[in-house]
Symmetry: C2
Subunit: 330 residues, 2 copies
C-alpha cells in the first residue's frame, strides 16, 4: 500500500500544480507573482493536498470535489513558510535566498497575506453545495487560526525559563496537529459530510500524529542529523524549543538550566560546536533521548488505536497515511 500513496501523490500533485497556476498566475506584473513564484519554484512535494484527495477518494468521494480545498491547504502551507522565514530570520530555503532576503520584509509579509487571500478564494469558488463549502471554510479557518496560535507559543518559547514538556506538547498540537489533520478532515467531509464522530476522531488523530512526528523530527537532529552532510545538533544552534530541550529543562539543576537557556538564546552563527556537544551531554545525563524515543513510540501507538475507533468502513486509508508519514520520519 505504501507504494500506492507515493503513486497517488505524484498523480494528484500534477492536478494540484495545474490549479495552482490558475489561482496564482506566475507572470503577472503586480509585485506579487514574482516573489511568490520565486518561493513556489523552490519546490514542495504537494504531500498535504494529496493526502486530502486520497482520503476523499478512499472514503468514496470524488477527489475533484476536494481539489480546491486541497490546493488551499498547499497555499496556506506556503503562506506560513513566507511569514515563518521572516519570523525566524531564516535567510535560505532549499538553496535559494528566502523571499524577505530577496524582495525585502515588506514584500514578503504582503506576499504571504496575498497567498492567504487566494487560499480562501480557492475554496470560495469551488463547485460544491453551500453547506459543504461553509464546513470546509470552517475547517480551513480553524487550522489557520490554531497554527498561528502555535506559532505564537513557538516564537516566545526560546528564552522562556519556565518551558515544559506540557508547553511543548501544547505548542506542537497547535502548530502541527491541526495542520496534519486538516487535509484528512476536509477530504472526509467532502466524501461523507460532517459526521460528528468521524470528524472528531480525525482531528484527535492529528493531535497525536503531530507531536509524534515532531518528536521524531527532534530526535533525527541528534541522531542522523538534518540537512546536508548530516550535521548533528542544528536545532540546538537554531535555538529550537525541542522536546529534548523541554524535558531536560524540567529536570536540570539551576546551573545546567542557565547554560541551556544561554546557548538556546544565542544567535545561530555564534553557537560553537563545543556548546552543541555540551547541550548533548546535558540531554544524555538526563536520558532525554531514550525518553523522547519512548514518548514518540507511545504516541504512535495511540495514533493507531484512535484509527481503530474511527466509525467508517474504509479506515485503512488513515493507517496507510500514518504509515507513510511515519516512514518519511525515519
Amino acid at each position: 500500500m505504501q507504494a500506492d500513496i507515493e503513486e497517488s501523490i505524484k498523480i494528484y500533485g500534477k492536478k494540484i500544480d495545474e490549479l495552482l497556476k490558475e489561482i496564482i498566475p506566475p507572470d503577472r506584473d503586480d509585485y506579487l507573482s514574482e516573489p511568490i513564484w520565486h518561493h513556489l519554484r523552490t519546490g514542495g512535494k504537494r504531500i498535504r493536498p494529496a493526502i486530502c484527495l486520497i482520503t476523499c477518494k478512499e472514503l468514496g468521494g470524488n477527489p475533484d470535489d476536494a481539489l480546491h480545498f486541497a490546493l488551499a491547504i498547499e497555499i496556506l502551507h506556503n503562506m506560513f513558510l513566507l511569514h515563518d522565514d521572516i519570523e525566524d530570520e531564516d535567510t535560505m530555503r532549499r538553496d535559494q535566498p528566502t523571499v524577505w532576503v530577496k524582495y525585502g520584509v515588506a514584500n514578503a509579509i504582503n506576499a504571504g497575506d496575498y497567498l492567504l487571500a487566494r487560499a480562501y478564494h480557492c475554496i470560495l469558488i469551488s463547485q460544491i453545495p453551500s453547506e459543504r463549502k461553509l464546513q470546509l471554510l470552517e475547517i480551513f479557518n480553524l487550522t489557520y487560526e490554531k497554527t498561528v496560535e502555535g506559532q505564537a507559543l513557538d516564537i516566545n518559547a526560546r528564552g522562556a525559563t519556565d518551558y515544559t514538556v506540557e508547553k511543548y506538547l501544547e505548542l506542537v498540537r497547535l502548530k502541527t496537529g491541526y495542520y496534519l489533520a486538516c487535509g484528512m478532515v476536509g477530504g472526509a467531509v467532502v466524501a461523507l459530510g460532517n459526521i460528528e464522530g468521524t470528524i472528531d476522531k480525525i482531528w484527535a488523530l492529528g493531535k497525536l500524529m503531530g507531536p509524534a512526528f515532531q518528536i521524531k523530527d527532534d530526535l533525527i537532529d541528534l541522531t542522523v542529523g538534518k540537512g546536508r552532510g548530516g550535521v548533528i545538533g542544528s536545532d540546538i544552534k537554531e535555538g529550537k524549543a525541542s522536546f529534548l530541550y523541554a524535558y531536560t529543562l524540567e529536570l536540570a539543576n539551576n546551573d545546567d538550566k542557565a547554560s541551556l537557556i544561554g546557548i538556546m538564546t544565542k544567535q545561530r552563527e555564534e553557537t560553537t560546536d563545543d556548546e552543541v556537544q555540551y547541550v548533548l551531554n546535558i540531554y544524555n545525563k538526563h536520558g532525554a533521548i531514550e525518553h523522547a524515543q519512548k514518548y514518540a513510540d507511545d504516541l504512535i501507538k495511540q495514533t493507531y488505536d484512535i484509527i481503530d475507533e474511527i466509525p467508517t468502513d474504509n479506515k485503512a486509508v488513515f493507517r496507510d497515511i500514518a504509515n507513510f508519514m511515519a516512514q518519511r520520519m525515519t
Copy 2:
C-alpha cells in the same frame, strides 16, 4: 442628517466594541492578546463597521444580522495596521510604540495573522442563512485581496522612475476603494440580498470615493498639514507616493525628476525642511496642487452621480455617508 451619522457611529460603536471583546478576549495568556490589545487600546472610532450597520438599517435590514460582518471589517482594518506598520517601518501610532517595536517583528506579523483568522471566524459564526454568509465571505475576501494588491503597488511605488497618475489611481482604487465600499456592500447584501445592479454600483462608488478622499488627504498634507502642530509636507518626508508626486513626476524635466525621486527615497529623518520646500516648489511650478484639487472635486461629483444611479428607493444613506466622509476630509 450629518448629526445622525455621528450619533449612529456612537451607538453602533458600543455594540461593535462589545462583540470585539468576545471575539478577541483581552486578557488571554497566549502571546497574542497582549500585542493585539496594546494596538486596539490605542483607539479607533469604529467608523468602518458603523457605516456597514447604518447602510443595512437604512435599506430596511436588521443591523444585528450585519454585526459580525461589520466587526470583521474592523478587525481586518487593524490587521492591516499591524502589518503596514512593519512594512512602512512606522515606530509610533497614536503616541504609542507600534506593535513590532514593542513586541518584535515576529510577534507583530503573527498577531496580524491571528486577527485575520478571527475576522473570518467572526463571519463564519454569524447567524444568517448559508447563501448570504457565503456572499459576505466573498465580499470580505475580495476586499482583503484587493487591498493587499494595492499595498503591493504602494510598497514598490517609492523608488519607481515610471510612476504615473494612472498608477497612483490604480493603487488607490485597490488599496482604499474596495475597503471603503466593503461595509456598504455587506450592509446592502444583508438588507436586500445580492442584487446585481445595486451591488455593482456600490463597488463602483468605492472606486470613486477612495481616490477622491485619498487625493484630498494628499492635499491636506500640503495645505493645513497632518499630525500635531500642522507641519506641512510630512508625506514628502515619508516618501509617500501621493497624487501630487505622481502628477509632477509625469511633467517634470529630467533634473527635477531625479531630485524628486532622490528626496522621495531618502529616509524620513534624513529629509531636510529645505528639501520639503524644494519639492513643494516643483509641485507649484507644475500647478500640481490646483490640478489635484480639481481632480478630486471631479471625482466627488462623479460619486454623487453614481449614487443617483443606484436602483434602490432609499439611497439617501449613500449620500449621507459620502457627505460625512467628505466632511472628515476637510
